[in-house]
Subunit: 373 residues, 2 copies
């Protein structure tokens, strides 16, 4: 186990979006400097970082200078090229490492990994050819979901197959190959749990939350999830299992489907702070971003206990921006914006956390829980 | 009343110390950019700001460029030269304005102002000459405290007069003149209350806290102050009175002495976020820094309610830094560092907030309240 980063050390973050920004804000609170590396000339993270590099992820010279300027490297999203992290690993400690990235940026590797880590998953098949798709559908049945294996997020790169006629057009449209066919899961809820794992192997797992999407983009998280205690505990346990099986040093979100009988099926791993953990910024003493920084910096992890129940509402696109003046005036609501210049449709611009008394959410109907959001 | 600053607008902050840094972090949370103006080449605030200017406070050209680059100007400490703010006021909205600065950077003006605002103060006299000092001591009695009227903080620029022999050396040592002689106040506690006032004149006042000093530097704040409900309410009311009398747009801390009978005497006004308000970062939904930013940006003020009791411990100098590894591992404690490169004796490097259940502090003895800090 390596020594903690001393105060004033520099954390390098690949990616300059809102997750990098909020990680940088949490790092500053702990006395660290941040250096954001991103290809975009202006990014939310750079507005709050002590240093930045604007360069492509493939620029070896820029990466070497970056590695020399920082004490540790992390990333804010799992679609950073694995080659980038592979180039950095000999030059600076990378937390998480490239192995984690490789698992999480390939849905085939991810599904296989989840099963190995002891997290049940829905039936799935790799699909390289249309013939394989036909065979896979014969085994798994319809409806099913066909997805790209790489770079998918917020519902992009997927198609629901309902009839045999859907196969050929979906296969033709989705790229790059291979694809993955997943059995359609008749879930009653989607939950996620966020686990941090320190350099010493210690785990800190936040309470599982229930997530609702709108147009495939996260809209609401209810913390804690309104599921049975056994299901909630299992979701947290699964997140911890995945962190351990990955040998993670950092933080991850595990998304899971809840079936009618309370069974959980693993869906996706996001090996970095996650939108469904933004409620921790106001409802816990240490947010997921602080926890991420602590893990990456080699500090002891913080207690992930909630001191409030919470509902998180995402502010997306022009409608999200339009809600801002109301939310910023709402008692009991903590509003957050990410400093993005343009409010394009579908773009995540901020979020608002409504705090509720500890233990009160379980008995609340949606209208009550969402009041003021 | 002017419109709120839109998301993405830039807040200019004069001063780059920890108060500017934490204000910038709060501004980022609300989607604003910050531009720090400070004479020091490397400052804690600049590490987290989107832009900075390194220039003397007297550099008219740099000030003009700064004013042109920001949407509003505020300051993080009241020892910014009044001439600097006077030069900026025609160029950009300054919140608070130069009038507030002039009152608060001169102890004579401040004492007179407090009395006008309806806050009782201990007897005091202006002292320009040694003869005036002798006359003032004859009226006020000994012990008394002789202070410079400008630029004093953390106990610098003051002398306690206990015997007639102390007068001449203290008068000779303290500079610049004039000085102020203040009656010695046999206080049982020092409390402070923090009030924000918005562009619409709305007030938000945090609960009064009890402060303890070590070598004239704030060491501990207990939130809420363990004084009678009437005294606590009066402290808050006084802070609000001062904000209103100043026509403040921004945030101030009012320091008060508590006499044995519960009477309060006003001591100092700090027209900016204050060390005794750092507990709000973890024990309230909106911190004093967010409240400051809201006032300055013309946003509605947030609810200043506490959701926890708290004890704040300052981390000062090498001893403070030595305590860091322990505090960062302490459950229930939120540690903060300011990114300062050197741990010089007496330098404020960070603080730690211990959260306690709401309402529990009143019955706690010191040893219990300070456990783990």
């Amino acid at each position: 186990m390596s020594a903690p980063l001393p105060p004033g050390a520099t954390i390098g973050i690949l990616g300059g979006g809102q997750l990098g920004r909020m990680s940088a804000l949490a790092a500053a609170r702990l006395g660290y400097r941040c250096h954001i590396y991103a290809p975009e000339a202006e990014s939310p993270g750079m507005q709050v970082a002590a240093a930045h590099t604007i360069a492509p992820y493939e620029d070896a010279a820029a990466l070497a200078r970056f590695a020399a300027a920082v004490d540790v490297v992390t990333f804010e999203f799992e679609n950073v090229p694995a080659a980038t992290l592979a180039a950095l690993e000999p030059l600076a400690p990378c937390r998480p490492g490239v192995g984690v990235l490789q698992v999480c940026q390939d849905r085939l590797a991810e599904k296989a990994f989840l099963a190995r880590a002891g997290v049940p998953v829905a039936p799935w098949r790799a699909v390289h050819t249309e013939a394989e798709l036909t065979a896979a559908v014969a085994e798994i049945g319809l409806p099913a979901v066909l997805k790209t294996t790489r770079m998918g997020y917020d519902g992009r790169g997927q198609a629901v197959l309902r009839s045999p006629d859907d196969l050929a057009p979906a296969f033709a449209r989705l790229a790059p190959k291979p694809l993955i066919l997943e059995a359609f899961v008749p879930f009653v809820a989607e939950v996620s749990a966020i686990a941090a794992r320190g350099v010493d192997g210690a785990l800190a797992v936040y309470d599982a939350v229930e997530n609702r999407h709108h147009h495939h983009i996260l809209d609401l998280s209810f913390a804690p999830a309104r599921v049975s205690a056994a299901t909630a505990a299992l979701a947290r346990r699964h997140a911890g299992q995945v962190a351990e099986a990955l040998g993670l040093v950092g933080l991850l979100a595990l998304e899971l489907f809840v079936l009618p009988d309370g069974t959980l099926l693993g869906n996706e791993i996001a090996p970095r702070p996650h939108n469904s953990g933004h409620w921790t910024m106001d409802a816990c003493l240490a947010s997921q971003f602080e926890q991420h920084v602590r893990a990456v910096a080699g500090l002891p992890l913080a207690d992930p206990a909630r001191h409030h129940d919470a509902v998180m509402k995402n502010l997306v696109g022009p409608e999200g921006l339009a809600a801002w003046p109301r939310l910023v005036a709402q008692p009991g609501v903590a509003p957050h914006l990410y400093g993005k210049a343009e409010a394009r449709p579908g773009r995540k611009l901020g979020h608002a956390n409504r705090l509720l008394a500890l233990g009160s959410l379980a008995e609340m109907d949606d209208a009550t829980a969402l009041k003021g959001l």
